[in-house]
């Protein structure tokens, strides 16, 4: 079983839009946006991948096997009142991930392409992933 090399880079929020723009021009596609709630803060992972033959401006030749593994940009957010700028300007498809982050984790994302205003996942308990309602038990 081959384990692919996956790189993670932590960046400050201020440089997020600039880095995402350079990913877009470099021919990377958005793979996922994932929010993880830790004890002291939250982290948001933006994962990108560049498949063979889509090197964009870099002008790399078509290679027969996928050259790059997954590349993740990580942003740290505070636990209370987390806020993020939207990357929909560069990746239109990000609106689904950002709405999900807002509905489940309560992260406010400014400038989403399509804003569901909290109604993408209408749950009985708002932002259900924020509260830990089950302790580790049987």
């Amino acid at each position: 079983m081959s384990i692919e090399t996956q790189r993670v880079e932590e960046i400050p929020i201020g440089t997020l839009l600039e880095r995402v723009q350079s990913m877009r021009t470099g021919g990377w596609r958005l793979v996922q946006i994932c929010c993880t709630r830790l004890v002291a803060d939250q982290e948001v992972n933006y994962s990108f991948d560049r498949d063979a033959g889509q090197a964009g401006d870099a002008g790399q030749p078509d290679s027969a096997s996928p050259a790059d593994g997954l590349y993740t940009l990580r942003v740290r957010l505070p636990i209370h009142d987390p806020e993020l700028p939207s990357i929909s300007a560069f990746y239109w498809s990000a609106f689904l991930y950002e709405n999900e982050m807002h509905d489940l984790f309560g992260v406010r994302v400014k400038g989403m392409a399509i804003d569901f205003k909290g109604h993408l996942f209408t749950t009985m308990v708002p932002t259900p992933f924020v509260a830990k309602d089950a302790e580790h038990g049987e």
Binding site: V31, C34, T36, S65, L70, S93, L96, T123, P128, G137
Partner: protein, 359 residues
Amino acid sequence: MANRSVIPFGPQHPVLPEPIHLDLVLEDEKVVEAIPKIGFVHRGFEKLVEKMDFNELVYVADRICGICAFIHSLAYCQGIEALIGVEVPARAAALRTIWSELARLSSHLLWLGLMADAFGFESLFMQCFRLREKIVDILEQTTGGRIILGVCRVGGVRRDVEDETLKEIVTRVNDLAALMREAGDVFLRDDSVKHRLVGVGVIPKEEAYALGCVGPVLRASGVRQDTRLRGYAGYGGVDFEPIVETAGDCYARCAVRIGELFQAVDIVTQVAAKVPAGEVAVKVSGYPTGEYHSRCEQPRGEVIHYVKGDGTRYLQRYRVRTPTFANVPALVRMLQGCDLADVPVLILTIDPCISCTER
């Protein structure tokens, strides 16, 4: 001035296999805009990491979806194995590959049936399901379950298949290939079907890549992307070429999936011919630490199981990004400018698995 009206489509609709809601803004039968809404089957799977330890989560992963169940559990087990540092035996990897391809056959045949049903071709729908029943019988015979196989575990697989059974499976699947070719020819050559599929919902290559599509939707637009090329499970030793079409319309997506049916038969034959002897599982000790994005190729595209552990029995985060989640923006783009009568065909052409999308 044209008449503008908003028609709500779904979540209950005779052609929809899964509950998705679309608000279609129409101007005299042409769709101008489509606003999707999902969330009808959100079950909150990812919150179960708080209650269930990493071994029990295999059962949860199996049950995320009712069609692509095995590959979900495979992706999860691969993720945990990467975190713990366990290498599965070669026989287990080969068996996992065979089951993945059988699951792909079953899923594509189901999709072909639903597609035929979407444009009203009932007898073709029934024929596809008749063929699928034979594949599901093989799955039941080897694993015990028809859809939820429950056969993957961290460290290998839970059941072994004897070599004679494998040979018999290869014969059965190859015999089925002739009937599948017949059904596939109706899709690809019949004029009434082509009239509904050709030129409908075209996505050009650059737009498909920029929207983040995965799977057959992307391959039908001319991008050669297939997660199986990365060589996970037993795919490293398999010789296959992803099926790529360039037209980017519904017909191309249909042709890609039909081509993948025969490719799956070929892969099963290749892998079953050289399944190594040995055990099928290794003992796993220790707890997962670190993080890993485990990627597999489901019938609908690339699925990612992101697992993050901190050295205890319970994971910190378990996130599943399913291929339909990545294809929904493409659906919204495709619907702009189409006819109202094409809406069910377009929704089905991305192979929606909304229960996966919402978990």
